[in-house]
């Protein structure tokens, strides 16, 4: 397998050329990846084309940059976050509402919505079931949702701040603790970002091991998510049957690595995973059985008329809106946005990757569940392919540090995850993690507009976004 194009371009621009430069790159077909504030108090924007990246950096002058949300709608949350953390203003982003900060007065963060009979329904931060913490503010007339304001970051643990000055290995472990359900993705992202800053070339063993772990993570997550949607529908048989399959997938994880969430399996610069031929064959058969049963089960559940009536047309995210907001992962693909970081090549093991697609990407709950069902089949095929041979320890060949940050892009179970590592000799000066969940929360809010309040749990489950990944 050839080394993919790891072209890295670094452009330092003056504040007055910030917007123009980014707009030109986007017009030239590049994709917005993330915005962050670097250790030198510059604001940086990463853009991607395939696996190659371009970073545009600028020092705000004085304390202000022109907003880029007019050309990159996906940057809205990033700009709000940078403003909360550093005080930098983004001219033209009006109003620049707080995202990470939690002002006491509701008027300081809630969108004003007025009209006959408009009222607010406040939910959280503690939810009714076994759910992560976050606050939703619905603006409704009767049951109809006019607008949804999200207030997350209740679980903010300052993991990026803790990673500043840490060794690369500690930084990867902190990123792993950001979110259990995306532990592999986040730690591989940090490892690859660090390696990318050192022109790292992973050998075939490292690529195969990381790909295997990433797909095992996707498998139990997708099984979990379909079960969760069945709970949202109120179909107990579906939710229990998929819970059983998820448990079996997690037991495969435990047998393979000693941990049900694959914790502590990723190292920076190497891979220790060692699976002999007989273990590989045995686990391969178990994964194949899970995949086959999931397909049969979904054929049964998905064809159920009452299930179909419940999920069709619920929580529609139209393609233009998905593109504008930068929706990605299964949620984006369900709306016809064919974005999958695995297709960009990268430093993993996806020979001839073709992502699952839908004939009718209708952008509703039905589409988001159907795409996951298809991806489970594809995911099992990739795992079976890797496990048809033994997996051996491997190394990443690193060279001296290059100028500028290292950036990695990975496809998490929820979408494109981007990690930025600012290396400083043996330690990390800065870490920024923008996960697939972070990218998709604004799209979830958009999909709820016009829906009815009782459909919210179902629509929410069909995105099944992590709070922990966002809050960090």
């Amino acid at each position: 397998m050839t080394v993919p194009d790891q072209q890295r371009e670094l452009l330092d621009v003056s504040a007055d050329r910030w917007h123009e430069r980014i707009a030109d790159l986007l017009a030239g077909g590049m994709r917005f990846l993330t915005l962050w504030s670097d250790p030198a108090e510059r604001v940086a924007c990463a853009l991607g084309s395939g696996y190659g990246t371009t970073v545009v950096r600028s020092t705000p002058a004085p304390g202000e940059l022109q907003s880029i949300v007019d050309v990159a709608g996906a940057a809205a949350w990033d700009e709000r976050e940078i403003h909360d953390r550093t005080g930098v203003q983004f001219a033209g982003h009006v109003p620049l509402r707080p995202l990470v900060a939690h002002p006491a007065a509701t008027a300081d963060w809630v969108t004003p919505v007025s009209g006959d009979d408009v009222h607010q329904v406040a939910v959280g931060p503690i939810h009714a079931g076994v759910v992560e913490s976050g606050h939703f503010r619905f603006h409704v007339v009767g049951e109809r949702i006019l607008h949804l304001d999200l207030r997350l970051f209740y679980k903010h643990r300052g993991l990026e701040a803790a990673a500043a000055g840490a060794t690369p290995d500690l930084a990867a472990r902190l990123a792993q603790r950001a979110c259990a359900a995306c532990a592999v993705t986040n730690s591989v992202a940090v490892a690859q970002a660090y390696e990318s800053a050192h022109a790292g070339v992973p050998d075939a063993a490292v690529r195969r091991a990381r790909t295997l772990l990433l797909e095992l993570e996707r498998l139990y997550n997708h099984l979990n998510d379909i079960g969760a949607i069945c709970s949202g529908i109120g179909l107990a048989t579906g939710s229990m049957a998929f819970a059983e399959l998820k448990e079996r997938a997690q037991r495969v994880n435990a047998e393979l690595t000693g941990h049900r969430f694959l914790f502590d399996t990723i190292a920076v610069g190497s891979s220790d995973l060692d699976i002999d031929a007989s273990t590989a064959a045995h686990l391969r058969a178990r994964v194949a059985a899970i995949g086959a049963e999931a397909a049969l089960l979904w054929a049964d559940v998905g064809a159920n008329r009452s299930v179909r009536a419940r999920i069709r047309g619920a929580g529609i995210l139209v393609r233009d809106e998905a593109l504008r907001l930068g929706a990605c992962g299964p949620a984006g693909r369900a709306s016809g946005v064919n974005d999958d970081a695995r297709a960009d090549g990268g430093l993993l093991w996806y020979p001839g990757f073709v992502g699952a697609t839908l004939n009718d990407p209708s952008g509703d709950v039905a589409a988001r569940i159907e795409i996951r069902a298809r991806e489970i089949t594809a995911c099992c095929a990739i795992i079976e392919d890797v496990l048809s041979d033994p997996v051996r320890p491997g190394r990443v060949t690193l060279s001296g540090p290059a100028a500028g940050p290292g950036i990695a892009q990975l496809e998490s179970p929820r979408g494109r995850t981007v990690a930025v590592v600012e290396p400083d000799r043996a330690v990390i000066a800065g870490l920024h993690l923008r996960t697939g969940s972070y990218a998709n929360w604004p799209a979830l809010a958009a999909a709820c507009t016009g829906a009815i309040l009782p459909d919210f749990p179902l629509i929410n489950k069909s995105f099944e976004l992590c709070y922990a990944c966002v809050d960090r």
Binding site: H102, P125, I126, A128, G129, V130, V131, E132, S133, F153, Y154, K155, H156, R157, G158, L159, A161, A162, R173, L174, R177, A178, C179, A180, A181, A183, N224, M240, A241, A243, E244, K246, E247, Q250, R260, F261, F263, C466, Y467, A468, D471, R472
Partner: protein, 168 residues
């Protein structure tokens, strides 16, 4: 004429009914079920996944009388995950203060016990024990469904004992 007539308020009626129930000769039993209110105070979601699994088809904790309840008003146990971020502290204390006596607090996972790999100390209290009296401890990162089940079933015995003990 019933003793409560003429006195206003539904609570007076409830207290009267409770007194009538005590006046029977039936033995006063400790509860055989436990309602759990779960609060995520900044976890990585691993504990939530595994707690969810204990309620699934394989571990099925409901068959032992354990259930998750939506309101702290109905809860016997407050089950807390995460290192208690500064932003979740108040919500956690409100949930605890809404619970009826006797009530127990359980800390689920290493973060809640103050021994996880955490982030910036300025953003968190650091453990559940620092702000609430913890009676049940479930270590692990995250604890497996087996471990959660075993500790919660032991917690059920604690709740029974708390009901039998006279409360002040």
């Amino acid at each position: 004429m019933p003793a409560w007539t003429g006195r206003p308020g539904v609570f007076v009626l409830l207290r009267h009914l409770a007194a009538l129930r005590r006046s029977t000769d039936l033995a006063r039993g400790a509860p055989r079920s436990v309602a759990i209110r779960h609060v995520d105070a900044g976890s990585c979601n691993g504990c939530e996944h595994e707690l969810g699994a204990t309620l699934g088809p394989i571990y099925d904790l409901q068959r032992f009388g354990l259930s998750i309840t939506a309101s702290p008003r109905h809860a016997d146990i407050l089950l807390v995950t995460g290192p208690v971020t500064t932003r979740m502290r108040d919500a956690l204390l409100v949930a605890y203060s809404a619970m009826p006596e006797p009530r127990l607090v359980a800390a689920l996972g290493n973060c809640a016990l103050g021994c996880g790999l955490l982030g910036d100390p300025a953003e968190m209290i650091g453990s559940v024990e620092a702000i609430l009296p913890v009676a049940v401890r479930v270590p692990g990162c995250p604890p497996t469904p087996d471990e959660i089940a075993r500790h919660l079933l032991a917690g059920l015995e604690e709740v029974r004992a708390a009901h039998v003990r006279p409360t002040s």
